[in-house]
């Protein structure tokens, strides 16, 4: 091969590489068509195909609007949104959970939706409690997210093993601990319960504590946190006492993936998670698994509100009307029902509550009824506090591990969380007078 030929071949190869690595181009308006960008905040094999179907349906019904889907994983979505805000490149519309809402509204990245919702055909059809959770999450400054799905803590249990042992689904925490003891057989590597000691343990143990104590608010009238109330502390002590007695030793560092893996592998008989794992546990265990809501304590029960999923419009969007149209479509009866049926969560659109899949869904309907009942004592976690994530994750998680390992007491743990919340709340109120 001559040198010229070799040089030409190399140049062509380089050109090929350049072409292969070229930009895919950005969205723009052309030919009377509007392109909006939508960021999915929890992309994955279970959810992405659902959105792709809904987007196709939307584009068919709205031929002048094209939706560009961008899937972002839940673990990275906060970083992705923050980078986009800092670099002025936010999408038109994005999936936002109430856990993230405070941070985005604090950065003034979102467009208020109160007026749009008031004029929308959806007005009055979105569950009131969901709207309340959403507004509370943004610090009561208005509606910045249109809820689409609700979630609720549930305890998945092995219905087949319970039946074999002559047990029924526990209604109180004491019944739960008794069932866990009965189902534990360490010789067979079988445990009655599992504790979340790793990532996410802070929120989980708080939701258990409030379910037991029945307290209705996170702060008393004086602005002091109720986390260290003796009733909450009593439950945390009871939970910690289960560690290694009715739970695997590895629980101290386990997050939900490990807990669910143990549950699906027949190693634990009960696992506290939420409706988000419905599909996973049903696929793995079928009819062998059932769920119940968090049991009550001696003084009744309360529900610590889970993050509500929904959609927000971004302030920088140049196509807010088209983006809102897409949000309205996603929250319409048909689309919202389809979505929630497939992810096993509670629809925000109340028209879906009459759908057959929902009325026969068992634990999903039970959780939905509980969440939407006016008699339910719904405790709003103060996600609007800038320090919320630090308090419940960065600080609380390692401290809860110390409780499990016997290095600190449940009372001290609860006090440290309560003190941090009290201070953060005082700071927040001082800044937002």
């Amino acid at each position: 091969m001559s040198r010229t030929l070799r040089t030409t071949a190399a140049a062509l190869a380089a050109l090929g590489l350049l072409t292969a690595c070229g930009s895919s181009g950005s969205s723009s308006d052309s030919g009377g068509k509007t392109t909006i960008t939508f960021w999915d905040n929890n992309a994955g094999p279970a959810r992405t195909p659902l959105y792709q179907k809904l987007i196709a349906d939307f584009e068919k019904a709205n031929p002048t609007i094209t939706v560009k889907y961008v899937g972002v994983t839940s673990a990275e979505v906060a970083e992705k949104y923050n980078t986009a805000i800092a670099s002025n490149s936010t999408p038109d519309v994005g999936g936002v959970t109430t856990a993230l809402l405070a941070s985005l509204t604090a950065q003034k990245a979102l467009d208020p939706l109160d007026e749009r919702y008031a004029k929308s055909a959806l007005n009055g059809k979105i569950a009131a409690n969901f709207l309340e959770i959403s507004k509370s999450a943004s610090g009561g400054k208005g509606l910045f997210q249109l809820p689409s799905s609700g979630n609720q803590d549930v305890i998945w249990y092995r219905a087949d093993k319970f039946k074999e042992a002559g047990l029924s689904a526990p209604k109180t925490w004491d019944e739960l601990f008794a069932a866990a003891a009965k189902l534990t057989d360490k010789g067979k590597n079988q445990y009655g319960f599992t504790i979340r000691g790793g990532a996410g343990s802070g929120f989980q143990v708080l939701s258990e504590a409030y379910a037991y104590s029945g307290l209705t608010t996170m702060f008393d009238a004086a602005g002091k946190s109720t986390v260290d109330d003796p009733k909450n502390v009593a439950l945390i002590e009871k939970i910690a006492a289960q560690y290694k007695a009715t739970t695997p030793e590895a629980d101290v560092s386990n997050a939900y993936p490990q807990m669910l893996a143990q549950f699906q592998a027949n190693q634990v008989m009960m696992v506290h998670h939420n409706l988000g794992s419905t599909r996973d546990v049903k696929t793995a265990l079928g009819d062998k698994v059932a769920g119940f809501l968090l049991p009550a304590g001696p003084d009744g029960t309360s529900v610590l509100a889970n993050p509500v999923d929904g959609f927000s419009l971004f302030k920088n969007s140049k196509h807010k009307d088209a983006a809102w149209k897409f949000v309205e479509f996603l929250d319409s009866h048909e689309a919202n029902s389809y979505w929630n049926q497939n992810v096993g969560q509670i629809p925000a659109n109340t028209e879906a509550y009459a759908d057959e899949w929902y009325t026969t869904s068992g634990i999903t309907k039970q959780a939905g009824d509980s969440l939407n009942s006016p008699t339910t004592k719904l405790v709003q976690p103060p996600v609007y506090l800038p320090q919320y994530s630090k308090i419940t994750k960065t600080d609380a998680e390692p401290n809860f591990q110390k409780v499990l390992l016997g290095k600190t007491s449940a009372a001290d743990f609860a006090k440290s969380v309560a003190d941090a919340f009290t201070k953060a709340q005082a700071d927040y109120q001082a800044k937002n007078k």
């Binding site: 590489l17 292969a20 690595c21 070229g22 930009s23 895919s24 181009g25 950005s26 960008t37 929890n42 992309a43 994955g44 094999p45 279970a46 959810r47 992405t48 889907y69 961008v70 899937g71 972002v72 994983t73 839940s74 673990a75 990275e76 970083e79 992705k80 980078t83 800092a86 670099s87 490149s89 959970t97 979630n151 939900y256 993936p257 669910l260 893996a261 699906q264 592998a265 027949n266 998670h273 939420n274 409706l275 988000g276 794992s277 599909r279 996973d280 696929t283 793995a284 265990l285």
Partner: protein
Amino acid sequence: MTAAAPRATGRVLRLFLPLALYLVFTVVPFYWMLLFALRPAGSTSLLPWPLTFEHFDTVWNGMGFRVYFQNSVWIALLTLVFVTFFALMGGYALARFKFRGQRAFLLALLCTQFVPGAMMLIPLFNIFQTFDLINSRWSLIIAETTFQLPLAMILMSGFVRNVPVELEESAMMDGCGRIRAFLAVVLPLLRPGIVAVGSFAFIGSWNNFLFALMFLNDPELQTVPVGLQTTIGENTVDFGALAAGGVVAAVPVVLVFAFVQKYLVQGMSTGAVKG
């Protein structure tokens, strides 16, 4: 009993037992990955039986890993080419020329290694946005090349120093120019260095997650590490897909190491220690 027997036992205890334990420690996670990738969902068997390739089908065809894999290959290969090319030039200059501020320059190169990629995210994002490179694979190639080049140049300069300068001088006395002498005499002797630097560049680029997540939006442009992350949702995790995706992500790295390990060990000892 002969004297050789206690010696053999001692050798087993001192050498083979720790190695075997270490091997178990290393191999078990890989076995776990293969087990979950090859057994059906919901199975609790400790053996990948009945064997299934459904998870590979899910990730490769259903989750778009075929596209992610192609993207990762292009990006990693181009990063390898650019890093190696510029490291050769820079490393040669550092090794063969004395210039004012050389020590300060070397120190600056080293200091760049202390800056985490996450810190540079927003400035890089703004730069790429200005040049319309967001959502282009070039953003990753440029960012990766930039971040890997300093260490690659330092490593390469060590390799170049180990090539006797007299060889080049002889070639030049025979009529070669500097470039010709470099290409004909030095470059063939730098093979271990090229392999070491190239391997690091390839693997570093292959594994990069943060830049791909931030600079690319279009699913058709995404890379394997970002695809892998999508198997873990907020409330769900598909262990079969996660493990199969892990195998897909690990195979090129394992192959690279298998082919280049001889050069890599030689290169590391030459460039890093003596350099």
